[in-house]
């Protein structure tokens, strides 16, 4: 892949929160690259810093106690330097996001059609009727057979799987360059989970949208991503292609993570080493490109 294809490039990103008790270092010099149309997973346990990374990319961490260092280049612009009004143009148009809980991601007091209008009108001036037409076309496209009913519904009237379809469609309707998917399938049943992942896969292929998948589920990573970054306590511990990371994990943390997952062909719960080393202190393992 050419260097010029680089869409998102995170360089030595540091994040800390100033707290009453002292400073809490959340991200410690993380670097991550994402090319156009590429599907990359950032995988880690709770508290590892994966969700704050998406928040930084979207410019959502601006509280006074937040200290940011390093660079986040998106299409060669540093996202840590741009203003909130510029972010407003980026969000939903160039970068969009899917959250874990689809019902919570939608505004409970507005009908789906109004929420589509909000997204669409952010990109260009559009009439309400046009937005309904565009939205129902997009919903038909994701095999929702009765888009009119869905558009006239409030979020609580939709099932979890249906709501996630709506959210994914909404995130993709402006053909963004980058889709951030923060645990997009965690709240769903396994069968619906696969449908949601397939849908993300299909839609992003058409528009050549890159995806940064944030998850704790290695199974989901294996199903969806091409490239994998493993994060542990604010440090990237391993980087490689999907087959490299799953077939030959190079960092002891990745190994422990993969080993701890109960296997479908197994007969007992894996035993985790109680005297495990501090994984964050073991240097990062980068697989050859």
């Amino acid at each position: 892949m050419l260097m010029s294809d680089k869409l998102l490039s995170i360089k030595d990103l540091e994040l800390s929160f100033k707290m009453y008790e002292g400073t809490l270092n959340v991200l410690k010099k993380i670097s991550l690259d994402l090319h156009k149309g590429e599907k990359v997973a950032l995988v880690g346990e709770s508290g590892s810093g994966k969700s704050v990374t998406t928040k930084l990319i979207l410019g959502l961490l601006n509280q006074r106690n937040v200290i940011k260092k390093g660079n986040i280049f998106f299409n060669s612009r540093n996202l840590l330097d741009i203003s909130q009004s510029e972010f407003k143009k980026l969000r939903g148009n160039n970068i969009s996001i899917i959250f874990q809980d689809p019902i919570a991601a939608l505004n409970p007091v507005f009908k789906i059609k109004q929420q589509f209008y909000e997204v669409l009108s952010n990109k260009k001036k559009i009439s309400k009727r046009e937005s309904i037409e565009l939205a129902s076309k997009a919903l038909l496209n994701v095999s929702i057979s009765d888009p009119v009913r869905v558009l006239e519904s409030y979020p609580f009237q939709l099932s979890g799987g249906m709501a996630q379809r709506v959210v994914i469609t909404m995130a993709m309707i402006n053909n963004p360059d980058l889709l951030l998917a923060d645990e997009p399938s965690t709240a769903l049943d396994v069968t619906v989970q696969n449908q949601a992942l397939d849908l993300m896969d299909d839609l992003t292929k058409v528009t050549n949208t890159a995806v940064l998948l944030i998850t704790h589920n290695m199974g989901v990573v294996r199903r969806f991503a091409e490239k994998v970054y493993v994060i542990y306590r604010g440090v990237i511990v391993e980087e490689g292609t999907k087959s490299q990371v799953f077939k030959n994990p190079g960092h002891p943390y990745t190994e422990a993570l993969l080993q701890s997952i109960p296997k479908l062909n197994g007969t007992s719960i894996p035993i985790h080493n109680d005297n495990a080393p501090n994984y964050a202190e073991i240097p990062k393992f980068t697989h050859p490109k």
């Binding site: 049943d189 696969n194 704790h216 199974g219 701890s260 109960p262 985790h272």
Partner: protein, 257 residues
């Protein structure tokens, strides 16, 4: 040990009748690790709530060693069936120390004499791998895995025979999950317990349960020995469920139906 005969339960929500369970028949034997699996809304938690006496079934009966289990039941019966629930954040009272959380069932069920609570709590904590200095702490200072250990210690306090585990590890990270599951297996052996293990995670079931019932929309889709169900699933629904499991190795994929 527990016989479930022809249980049905329905809920009425705004004039709509939802059939949560229809004609469920199950038999759970002593020392079983009996898994109830299904997607959300399949009725697995409703079934657990009926066994626990939180709901009263509309039809059918639950027998515990020949005694009928209804919603109204005496302390002796309550003592024998205990419960560990899913969310470690909401399962413990945030205003109570770990000591008073675990001592409460000891007091209610008069498990030990009044002056021996402290020793007993200490002992229970040691069973779940926590040190005695946890007694004075509050739940918000504990990690998810530690909270779940406390919940297990509290369930063990009444010296039960049956533990109902409702998604005990689905809110935990995988490494912590493997530790808590191994702890549950150790405790099961040590105290000769019977487990009713409710989960949506079939990979966990494969590795922990000896019997499985697959539920779908309030009905039993399939039941039997774990090995049998995973090697020769008969129902299409079970096959779909097993195929949908996200796996991490090629060897696992090869065993899918």
């Amino acid at each position: 040990m527990i016989k479930i005969r022809d249980i049905s339960k329905q809920f009425t929500i705004k004039n709509n009748i939802v059939k949560a369970l229809s004609n469920i028949n199950l038999e759970i034997l002593e020392r079983d690790c009996f898994a109830i699996v299904g997607e959300s809304g399949s009725g697995k938690t409703t079934l657990a709530n009926i066994i626990l006496g939180i709901y009263q079934q509309d039809q059918g009966e639950v027998l515990f060693e020949k005694e009928k289990l209804t919603k109204k039941r005496n302390l002796q019966l309550r003592k024998l069936i205990q419960f560990v629930q899913q969310n470690p954040m909401s399962t413990l009272n945030p205003k109570k120390t770990i000591y008073s959380t675990i001592a409460l069932p000891l007091k209610i069920h008069k498990i030990v004499e009044d002056n021996k609570y402290k020793e007993k709590v200490e002992e229970l904590l040691s069973f779940v791998g926590l040190e005695s200095n946890f007694m004075d702490r509050y739940p918000d200072t504990l990690s998810g895995g530690q909270k779940q250990r406390v919940a297990i210690a509290r369930a063990l306090a009444t010296e039960p025979k049956v533990l109902i585990l409702d998604e005990p590890t689905s809110a935990l990270d995988v490494i912590v999950q493997s530790k808590v599951l191994n702890l549950l297996l150790d405790i099961k052996k040590k105290f000769d317990l019977t487990y009713i293990f409710i989960t949506h995670d079939l990979s966990v079931v494969k590795n922990i349960a000896n019997k499985v019932v697959v539920m779908n929309k309030g009905k039993i889709e399939e039941k039997g020995e774990t090995i049998e169900i995973f090697q020769n699933p008969k129902s299409e629904y079970t096959k779909t469920l097993i195929r949908a499991i996200p796996t991490v190795t090629d060897e696992e994929d090869a065993t899918k139906p």
